[in-house]
């Protein structure tokens, strides 16, 4: 079987890439387009470390064939990171020390982005529910939930101390 040229829109830029039949979007994003934040995790949809946004919805990109993403808007962690500085969710993760090894962090942040987009003021239970498909081995989740809660507050203009 031979590859096929597809057009993908990643972080606002349309690119052409040769993809193999059934090649996962994760593999194309990381290995062909250089979006290194999209981690290679379990490759079975069980860990969430490859989470990206497809038309604003968080999906595990290891389970989506790249061809199926043609015509969608794909957003990776690189796409939400400003040229200068960090996005509010990224800042909150840093300030609340919401990572140790960092492997789950890009997927966690993309899941949080999608949550805060559709629900700008989530409860703690809603945050826990949203990230329940993203596995973290190090933090015990509490610092991650704290960070997403704080990001929601700062994005809604109720930052706790402005520090």
């Amino acid at each position: 079987m031979s590859g096929k040229i597809v057009e993908l829109t990643v972080n606002g830029r349309t690119v052409e890439e040769i993809v193999d039949p059934m090649e996962p979007l994760q593999s194309v994003l990381r290995n062909k387009l250089g979006n290194m934040a999209t981690k290679t995790g379990c490759k079975q949809g069980g860990c969430g470390s490859c989470t990206v946004l497809v038309d604003g919805e968080p999906i595990v990109s290891c389970l989506l064939p790249a061809e199926a993403a043609v015509g969608t808007e794909i957003t990776t962690l690189e796409g939400i990171t400003p040229d200068d500085g960090l996005a509010p969710v990224q800042e909150a993760f840093r300030d609340h020390f919401a990572m140790q090894c960092g492997y789950c962090t890009p997927g966690m942040i993309m899941t949080a982005e999608a949550l805060l987009e559709r629900n700008p003021d989530p409860s703690r239970a809603e945050i826990e529910d949203a990230i329940s498909g993203n596995v973290c081995r190090c933090t015990g989740y509490d610092p991650i939930v704290d960070a997403i809660e704080a990001a929601s507050e700062s994005m809604n203009g109720q930052g706790d101390d402005g520090a």
Binding site: Q44, M99, Q100, C101, Y103, E128, C138, G140, D142, P143
Partner: protein
């Protein structure tokens, strides 16, 4: 349905480092041309924050800002030797090695600065902000960067240091059995509250309250990360995790993250803790290890709380709902046996 609550306690005496056949970790420090100091280690940061802790220790020992420290743990093939980040030994061993290396490098830095300032090395002091001053003459100073440049391009010197954190081999005394197996010991007491559903066998950990006695903290935020993450991991070991769960057929064991049983974010209990800093005699600045011990005492504390809740001592982990229900069933059967056995088959019980 009946939910029963219980409280359990566990206390741990946890070794930092091992005896092995002599247990070394080496560190090398050298300055770049611009006065940054590269700390080369083979001790690996798995996310516990070892690089951060080593940068802090190196900055303190060199007398330079932490921003001027670069920790390179790149390659265990070519780097100085480290036995590994295990036995909660990383900060203890590598920290001692870094201080040892920094002592040597700092002496060279002071000699270089002394030549530039036309002063005696013993009269110099770094201010921790990137400058070296002549004691008693505040206007006579040189930046660390200028000293490094002078070393490289004028004096032809290498500002560097070699260090080791070492525990010699300790043999067992054949007469008494005595030996010295570790470098220091940290301590903790953990109390947990659980709720056991006697209908479904499910155990919910409500709270984890702990006191950790861990020597001098290098970085409280890293300690917090270890304790919170460790409490969750201890709960995971106590109630969920096993690579070989009981199944009729071994082929049914989990093969992926989706099948491996782990507690998620909504199962995290309320965690509260206190840290007591009682310096060790052997660690850098009195450090003891906190790594592994954060995940171990929650396990017996949870199993003891289950005993308090349902009156049965469970002796295996993970305590899955099936384990709870079987334990309750066994308990019920043994308590239903009549005191006099002569009317029953197999009546040879006491």
């Amino acid at each position: 349905m009946s939910k029963r609550r219980g409280t359990g306690l566990a206390t741990v005496n946890y070794p930092t480092g091992m005896n092995l056949g002599g247990d070394p970790t080496q560190a090398l420090i050298h300055s770049t041309t611009t006065g940054n100091f590269v700390v080369t280690l083979s001790s690996t940061d798995l996310g516990q924050g070892l690089k951060t802790a080593m940068a802090q220790i190196a900055a303190d020992a060199m007398g330079v800002p932490v921003d001027n420290i670069i920790v390179d743990t790149g390659d265990t093939d070519t780097g100085p030797h480290c036995m590994g980040t295990f036995a909660s030994r990383g900060t203890h061993r590598a920290g001692n090695a870094v201080i040892d290396a920094a002592d040597e490098a700092r002496d060279v830095l002071m000699e270089v600065a002394a030549e530039e300032l036309e002063a005696a090395p013993s009269d110099l002091e770094p201010d921790g902000d990137g400058n070296i001053h002549v004691l008693g003459a505040p206007d006579r100073s040189i930046s660390v960067m200028d000293a490094a440049m002078a070393a490289h391009f004028e004096q032809g010197r290498t500002i560097s240091g070699r260090g080791i954190g070492f525990k010699p081999k300790s043999d067992v005394d054949p007469e008494t059995g005595e030996m010295d197996p570790d470098s220091t010991e940290a301590h903790a007491t953990v109390v947990t509250e659980v709720e056991v559903d006697t209908e479904t066998g499910e155990v919910d950990v409500l709270t984890v309250k702990a006191v950790y006695e861990i020597g001098q903290m290098v970085n409280p935020a890293l300690v917090d990360g270890q304790i919170i993450g460790g409490a969750w991991m201890g709960m995971a070991h106590a109630l969920y995790e096993t690579t070989d769960p009981y199944y009729p057929d071994i082929d049914h064991k989990p093969g992926s993250f989706g099948e491996y049983s782990l507690p998620g974010p909504s199962e995290v209990p309320d965690i509260e803790y206190e840290v007591l800093e009682i310096p060790s005699q052997t660690g850098p600045y009195g450090v003891k290890g906190i790594g592994e011990m954060s995940a171990t005492p929650p396990i017996p504390a949870i199993v003891n709380a289950i005993k308090d809740a349902i009156g049965v001592q469970i002796t295996e982990i993970p305590v899955t709902p099936e384990v709870v229900l079987r334990a309750l069933e066994d308990e019920k059967e043994s308590s239903e046996e009549p005191p006099v056995a002569e009317n029953r088959d197999g009546g040879d019980e006491p």
